[in-house]
């Protein structure tokens, strides 16, 4: 067990199995776009960009899914009192929007 002063803070890094590949995907080499690249190269670069920014991409997908769900199934309106607002916000499309908001908040650069 580590002494208190030796322990990493909650915001410190900890070893991770996916760090190495994650770093490779977002490395300057992966992000460089030399002129005259083929559509295949551009497609690969787009996939790499989407993987590296997957939080923002999935956040958008969740927003779209929540919108489609709300339109297809409808949202019940319970009322403006605190309890009723709780009922309004725990409906599945709203929950997807909340998760999306959390994901966008956690996707910001640190």
């Amino acid at each position: 067990m580590l002494e208190r002063e030796q322990r990493p803070l909650g915001s410190d890094r900890f070893p991770s199995a996916i760090d190495e590949a994650a770093s490779r995907a977002g490395s300057p080499v992966a992000r460089r776009t030399p002129p005259g690249r083929s559509p295949l190269d551009l497609g690969v670069a787009a996939v790499q960009w989407a993987l590296a920014h997957s939080r923002a991409v999935l956040g958008l997908v969740l927003v779209a899914g929540a919108g489609a769900w709300a339109i297809a199934r409808g949202l019940t309106y319970y009322g403006l009192s605190p309890v009723h607002l709780g009922y309004d916000l725990d409906q599945p499309p709203w929950l997807l929007l909340l998760v999306s908001g959390w994901l966008w908040y956690r996707s910001r650069r640190r």
Partner: protein, 179 residues
């Protein structure tokens, strides 16, 4: 005290959203200050697991069927143990190589309990949902366990797909199927 079915369904939706937030934060890379993606170092994930465990344990109080009480009690135990071990690991107070397998094993254990739930009550209204959710959890746990044991390091682990499927199924579970 027995809750109305709509309240039980609401609890499932909220736990599903919590689980979706946990796995997305855990498995999706984060853009660091240097512009490069890295894994989230958050301790929110283990805390969320333990909060989820408390929510699942609450079912033991409100459930009206014995097997529901037992299965939810065991789910809560697994989630709390996994959350506590992950929290200890991320704070650096307890470091062992086997701690890497805690999350995959927790997913596997919870998935197996879903199948036990179906086996005990095969004619229940939510049997098909429970079967699908258990299979997705087992697939996610097995894929992640394979990744950890083989020291693979993809940008986005494949296990995220079945785990997201499980979370979305929990969010979308119909009122009649929630138990």
């Amino acid at each position: 005290m027995i809750l109305p079915q709509i309240q039980i369904a609401r609890a499932h939706w909220i736990l599903g959203a919590l689980f979706l937030a946990i796995i997305l934060d855990e498995y999706l890379p984060l853009i660091g200050g240097d512009g490069r993606p890295r894994r989230s170092p958050s301790i929110v994930v283990p805390w969320a697991l333990m909060i989820g465990a408390a929510g699942v344990w609450a079912t033991v109080v409100f459930a009206d069927v014995v097997h529901d009480m037992l299965i939810h009690f065991l789910w809560g135990d697994i989630l709390f143990a996994a959350g506590a071990l992950e929290l200890a690991r991320r704070r650096g107070v307890y470091e062992r190589p086997w701690l890497d397998t805690v999350l995959p094993l927790a997913f596997l254990g919870c998935g197996i309990l879903f199948l036990v739930h179906v086996e005990v009550d095969p004619s229940g209204q939510g049997a098909h949902w429970h079967l699908a959710m258990g299979s997705l959890l087992i697939a996610g746990g097995a894929l992640d366990l394979f990744r950890v044991l083989r020291h693979r390091s993809p940008v986005v682990p494949l296990a995220l797909v079945p785990l997201m499927g499980f979370a979305l199924a929990l969010i979308a579970i119909p009122v009649a199927a929630a138990s």
